[in-house]
Symmetry: C2
Subunit: 196 residues, 2 copies
Amino acid sequence: MPTRFTNRKDQIVQIAAELFSKKGYSATSMRDIAEHMKMEAASLYNHISSKEDILHTICFTTADRFINAIDEVNDIYFNGEEKLRMAVKNHIQILTDNMAEAQVFLREWRHLNEENIQAFIQLRDRYEKGIQSILQTGIDENVFQEVDKKFATLNILSSVNWIVEWYRPDGNMSPEEIADKISDFLLTGLHKKQPF
Amino acid sequence: MPTRFTNRKDQIVQIAAELFSKKGYSATSMRDIAEHMKMEAASLYNHISSKEDILHTICFTTADRFINAIDEVNDIYFNGEEKLRMAVKNHIQILTDNMAEAQVFLREWRHLNEENIQAFIQLRDRYEKGIQSILQTGIDENVFQEVDKKFATLNILSSVNWIVEWYRPDGNMSPEEIADKISDFLLTGLHKKQPF
DNA sequence: CCTACCGATCGGTAGG
DNA sequence: CCTACCGATCGGTAGG
């Protein structure tokens, strides 16, 4: 019964993501996860092969979401500012739609084993390249300053990723509002346009 | 012999900070730390009272550094832009001078016990207030836009804190260069000043 | 999906 | 600072 099987794994991954994000990967035990699944720890192994298998699934599923989103932006939208706003919006949507997984993706990937870390970093690099190419578009259009793209990309990603530290679904800002505000901030900075 | 005692605790804290930053707090064992100290795990307890005592020391020592730095900036410097640049520079200097502790401060504070977490968050909030008051200075001078200060502060902190994810002491950017570049980016954003 | 269990390791203490 | 040790818990397997 593969369907039931898959569902069950998804449930485990979801519950594990919540525990990993709350307590950290290492401090979460298989018995913790099992308890929330209302089963014995040993039974988990009918659905997953190891604790790291769960972490791997979380990290790479989330990475795929990001990569699909950036590819879509670079395929569809046209000018740099539009692309950037769309990329920021998609990024934040992924974060806020999957808070627990996103936090694990951002904080716990270091606990993957060595070869999975390599693959993970490659996906992350590919995503960063996607952002960089957006910046290049804006520069080519003479709309963005000639910034150091690598540096600016890290700045952009840090701003959007930090959201998981304070975003609350029941807070007074929607993901879209946050995205607009962040994009505004990234585009114009603190300075007044004509200060004097 | 209190001096020798203090020194020994500092050594333990330093080595623990490196291990905590590399492997995470929970995945680092007292035996790991002891091994790097070339002593037995039991002997560590002559210098520290518990594993969490070490984490506590790291987190609160680092918090003190940040708070002293921001208070100094708000005492000495005058205008908003100058203050912001100085605050960013100091912040980055603290991060890069104490990479391991800073990473633990940023990533591992969640493993403090509940009441220490409360105290920790209070210190962090005080620091954020310090940044906000810098922004207010710039706004009052009519040099900064009327931004949402809380939101802008989180943006600024995310940018500077993300540095610990990629900064390497042997890289090709000095902490001062990074500080200048980040300040420029925060102040002016991606847009060209007169785009058309 | 469970019972029963494994060897390994954990943070920490007693006592010197 | 060490030896010797504690009870608890870890990820995971065997076998049904």
